[in-house]
Structure formats: C-alpha cells, structure tokens
Symmetry: C2
Subunit: 372 residues, 2 copies
DNA sequence: CCGGTTCGCCGAACCGGTTCGACTTCTCCG
DNA sequence: CGGAGAAGTCGAACCGGTTCGGCGAACCGG
C-alpha cells in the first residue's frame, strides 16, 4: 500500500506546455503580458474591486491588442451561472404558428438585449433528451416553456430540478406556476359580443385541430369557454369547428359549414393558419366579406393586415409577451423565492374591415342555394 | 517581501463546506458514495478506460439513485468543446420566410439527434454582441450561418476566430468557404424552360424586395441570372418584378403587372410570402390559374400544396439541407482541415396544377380590357 | 519461483475563469 | 513618530469535470 512519492515533481506537467496547445489566449496570458496577477485582470474586467487607473489601462491595452474575451465555460463554471436561458418549443413536426414564431423571434431579441444567449430545445415527441440536458446538466440559468398543456410533465420536471422557469400558456390551476398568457377566453368572448352587437345571431368558432384540443391544449379550451359564455349571454346560436392548422383544412371546414349551416353569418377564429382557406371557401361560395359574412378573432397582427379585407381582430402582442416573460424569468433567476406571477394579456380588438352588420334575414340563405 | 506561511492550513477552505452549498451533486459526491475515486466514476461513464463490472454497477446504482448528470460547463471546460453549435439567423425584424423557418426547425431537429444543442443568435442589425459572444467566448464548437450575403463581414470574422462554420447560401467566389445552397439559378432556369415548353412567350420573374436584392442577397441575384439565361435561350420576353415579402406587396405588384403588361401569361416566383397576394390580384382581374395564367417557381412545399391550385414548383428540401449542413459542420469540427465542400441542391420540380398551355394569342389581351 | 503483462483503480494536474484572505504600501491623524 | 485605515495587488482555493502516469495485485509462462 505504500507509494513512492519522492519522484512526484519529476512527473509534474509544465504549465507552459499544457495538454492542448490552444491559442494561449487566456486570463493568465493577459496577466503575464501586463505584468500583473490573474486576479488583478479579473478585477479590472469585472470592476468588483478597485484597480489603479494605470494598471487598468495597461491591462486593457493588452486585452484590446489581443482581442481577448473570457472563456464562457470557465466563467460559467466559476460563477455558477451560464448567462444562457433555454427556450423550449413545440417539436418541429407540429408546424409552428406565426404567433409562436413571432414569440420565438421576440424572445431571442429581448434576450440579446439583456446579454443573454438562448438555447433552443424542441420537446415533446421522442427527443426529450434535449430537454433533459437542459434541465439536468446546468446548461441554462432558466427556461421559458412554450405551449404548456393543461397537465404538463415538463413543469414537474423543471420544478424537481429547481430550475427557474416561466410558462407561456398556463395549466388548469396552479398558483405556484409563473406564466404569461393571452386571455383567449376573454378575447373570444369580446369578439362574439362585437359580432352580436352587429346583429349576427348565428356564429361559429374556428378552433384548432381536434387532436390538439383533445390533448388538453389550453387556448383551444379557453377559446371554447369564452365562445360558449358569450353565445349564452347573448342568446345566440353557436357552432364550434375543430379545424387542422393549414389552409386546406380551413377551406374544407368552411365549405362544409356554409353547406350545412348557411344561416351562419359570422366567424370568430383562433386558427390563423386556416385563414387563407377560409378566404377561398367564402370566395367560392360567393359570400362577400364583410357584406355577407363577418370574421373576427385572435390573430397575429401581420396575418390580420395581410388578409383581404384586413381583419378586425385582437392582435397578439408577441413582443410584449416575450419581454414580460423574460423579465419575470430574470427576476426568478435572481431570486427563486420571488412569488409566482400570472400575466393574462388582453390586447384591444383592432377594428379593421372584416366585420359589418349582419345581412338581412333570408338573404344569406338565398345566396348559397345555387350550390345545393 | 517575506510572507508568513506557517498559517496556510488555517485558512484552507474545507472541501465539504464550499462557497455555494449547491445541491452537492457532483462527480466527487458520486465517487464518495460508491467508494471509488472521481476518475473511476468518470471512466465508468465515458468508457474510455476499463472499469470492472462490479465497480461500474455500484457507480451506476448511485448515479441512478441520485439522478446525477455531469455539469455541462465543467465538462466543456475540461474537454475543450461545448457540444453546442451556433445558428446565426437573420434579425427578427426582417421577418423570416417559411423556407428559413423550416430550415431552423430542421437544424434544431438534426442537432438534437446528434446530441448537440443549438444556440440561436440573431445577427445583422444592431445586436452583433450576440454574434461576437458566439465566436469569441468559445460558447459553441461550430456555427451555421444563414443568409450569407455576396460580401459578408461575418465570414471573415468567423475565419479570424478559427471557428468551424458552414454557410447557407454562398458568397460570390470563395473556394475555401464551406456551404450548402439551393440552386436558384438552375431551378428558375428550369421553371422558365418548362413555361416556354408550354407555349408561354411573355414571362415574369417575381423576385424578392428591391432592398434585399440591392444589398447583395444571393438568391435574388441568382434567380435573376437563371431567369435571364432561360429567357435568352428561348427567345422569350422577360420581365423582373422586385416585390416586398408580404401578401399586400404581392397583390399590388401583380395588379400592376396585369395592367401594364397584359401579354404576360406566366410567372416564375422565388417570393413565397407574396403568393396569397398574387392569388388575389389574379382573381380580381378574372385571370384563372392555370387556364389564363401559369405559375411556377421555388417554394417551400407546404406553401406549394396550400396554394389553390397546388403549385408546380421546386420544393426546397429544408430538412435535407439542414442535415447536410450539420454533417458538413460536424466533419469540420472534428477536423478543421477538412477540405471545403459546396453542395448546390437542385430538387426536382414537382408537377402540380398551376401550369398549363399558354392561352391562344389574343385571348389574354381581351380579358383584362374590361379593367382598362 | 520469478520476471513480465494485464487489469483496475487512484492521485494529481489541468481546463480558465472568480473570489477571498492577506500582505505591502501609502496616507492621514493624534 | 506610531498606529489606524484605506488602496492596490497577489497567491491560492475553488467550480466540476477529464486525462495521464503510476502502482498494486492478479495472472502468465518458463
């Protein structure tokens, strides 16, 4: 069991001939060239202790000359934080909606302003390894979790790992969860009231796909709830359409609606991707917007403006939501004990040109009769 | 100058009561509980040296029990690589096209399969700090650079930092650069030949926005080149339209085209985002697709299928491109001396329903006369 | 029974930063 | 002139991994 230690220095590696040759550009090299110690360079850069003006100037000159930037991994290891946040997005297979894309872009933008990097992780589907790496290998300081389901395994996983996070969307009832969401229920309710005010008595809700809603997708459920509430309050006849997230499904869905329920004169939608199809179906049935048929809903502003005629709709404020979520997250990273906050955003409905007074009773029935 | 060393052990920090309490979950803790040294745990995990079956089993049991995962920053520091790649995207202000989005999603997907993480960095615009962090702080092992311009400062920056990277798109002539691109010139040439074969004599190219093309945007320039070549080869009359990347611009652009050049009966497009507008403008002018007007071009397959009628077009194979780019990048990370490769992808043109034989001469002129 | 190999494990150096205690020097004040 | 206090710097420990040289024991053939 005895070991011979007399030769220990013989085997000591020389500092100057490390394992990797590397670029030799590290804080030690800067220190050497500036004739100070490594800690002094660190303090000159961070300002956490005073460094004399002369010394600082010398150090900065060396740094500028060599274009030195501290190594992110080493810094993360020492500081215990990565200056990176994780953005968990729905898997690419389920095509992202424009609203979601706006949101991703905004998060990256806002993060860049706060000098944070963003690590992207698709989750759901089969590749949860990426998500697992994020939470358990300390790759990020916090996480923004998109598209939270009513029951969501990832939420409990993040909690177990004590990883600060903010959700986009919110599960059923969970006071401790910190989230930002769009008030789909309130907005759709508002839209339907607007349509009722214009005299529409038979309205439809264009919801997301059957699978999505069945899997507990919050916006789908809440849009439905808001719709039902408003329909009941105003004594309307309401009809819900579950429609795939693409133009073709939209076209089929609306064509079917016009055929089977010609009395419907107005639509509230939360399904942006279906809109081009909605337009085609109405055009083919010779229903003019907004003269014969009104459309309103919750839509990314770009789509609302691109539609012809421009949509009267609640524009989802993706950039604001991203900024809010990031701000909440940064708070929770600083102090994990920060009480959970819930931000339910309720953007105003912008009046554009897709809604008008309901056509006089009977006229709607007459038009599509050519089709039947 | 003399220092008192007799007390050095008095001030030595105890290992068990470190600066941060932390979760105490590190390789040392695993080693302690399994009754082995840290290096043995490391080898048991990496398999880089043999570890006896019994020891390995004991270690793995402890690891599973505690749910241990090695710290990414520490590993990155020690290994000299981050297992992360950077994806440099155009700034969010310039809205991403569907093709680009498909590409981003595919990159994330492919990276996840290779157990790599993806760090997102918007560049261009004012926030180049993010890009700078990426290249100079060793945050990533390699970079995929989207939307390379004919002259691109980021390319030289990456080169100076000796950071392996692969471009999507390619600058004018640069043999050392490694890239993957779509053969816009060849594809548009092919499209125009197809239209010419159908008897069209007056064709237009729907290019991207004037600003984008002016700023040296490769696809714009190459689409133009391919268009001009084919027009010349077939003795056609060609017209180029520079059109903003949105439906409204598309509508205005095509409306103007139909008014001023009613003899044009076919369009080749590289501007997906304008397509809904193209459709509206043609419908308003009572030009039926494909009876009165043919459309072809380079379009993400989803858009091609969503269009009515479905577009005869070259579907950009975003997923394949992403996989190729990633594979190239991984090669260059492994061995930076790998010779640069250039992959010019030329997907087949899928025949759908938006192209047909040119209308007989004269009929095209007659239709829009009602408008004038 | 002995020298050489192989196997399995350990201790220490190292990656490149940050942070803390302590030392030297300089200044100010009684 | 001496002691207190502040300013500026340094050395070393530390973050949590990986990797390398080396050692003891078991195993081998002659």
């Amino acid at each position: 069991m005895m070991r011979l230690w007399s030769n220990r220095f013989v085997y000591r590696r020389m500092t100057t001939t490390g394992r990797r040759a590397g670029s030799g550009m590290n804080i030690g090299e800067i220190a050497r060239r500036a004739g100070v110690s490594r800690s002094t360079v660190s303090y000159a850069l961070s300002g956490k202790r005073q460094v004399s003006a002369g010394t600082r100037k010398r150090i900065m000159e060396v740094i500028d000359e060599l274009g030195y930037r501290p190594n992110a991994s080493a810094r993360a290891l020492a500081e215990g934080r990565t200056r990176t946040i994780g953005l968990v997005i729905p898997p690419a297979s389920n095509r992202l909606t424009h609203m979601q894309l706006d949101f991703v872009a905004s998060v990256v933008e806002v993060a860049a302003q706060a000098d944070l990097d963003v690590l992207l992780s698709p989750s759901g589907g089969d590749h949860d390894r990426s998500f697992e790496r994020l939470v358990s290998e300390s790759r990020v300081d916090g996480v923004i979790l998109m598209e939270i389901r009513i029951e969501d395994a990832r939420v409990s996983r993040l909690r177990k790992a004590r990883m600060p996070f903010v959700g986009i969307g919110h599960p059923s009832q969970d006071e401790q969860l910190c989230w930002v969401d769009v008030d789909y229920a309130g907005l759709i309710d508002h839209c339907v009231h607007h349509l009722a005010d214009l005299g529409h008595r038979h309205v439809a809700l264009l919801n997301r796909s059957p699978e999505l809603v069945a899997s507990g997708y919050g916006p789908g459920h809440r849009a439905r709830a808001g719709f039902m509430q408003a329909v009941e309050e105003r004594g309307l006849t309401g009809l819900e359409l579950l429609c795939g997230d693409d133009a073709r499904s939209g076209q089929e869905c609306i064509a079917e609606l016009l055929r089977s329920h010609p009395e419907v004169t107005a639509l509230a939608t939360v399904n942006e991707a279906a809109l081009p199809g909605v337009q085609r179906a109405l055009a083919e049935a010779d229903r003019h917007i907004p003269r014969d048929f009104s459309i309103s809903g919750v839509v990314a502003d770009q789509w609302a403006e691109d539609f012809r005629p421009a949509l009267t709709a609640a524009d989802v404020p993706a950039a604001t939501m991203a900024a809010q979520a990031m701000s909440l997250l940064i708070d929770r990273i600083k102090d994990p004990a920060t009480p959970a906050q819930h931000l339910l955003m309720s953007p105003p409905i912008t009046l554009r040109s897709s809604t008008a007074a309901a056509p006089p009773p009977g006229s709607a029935d007459a038009t599509p009769s050519a089709d039947g």
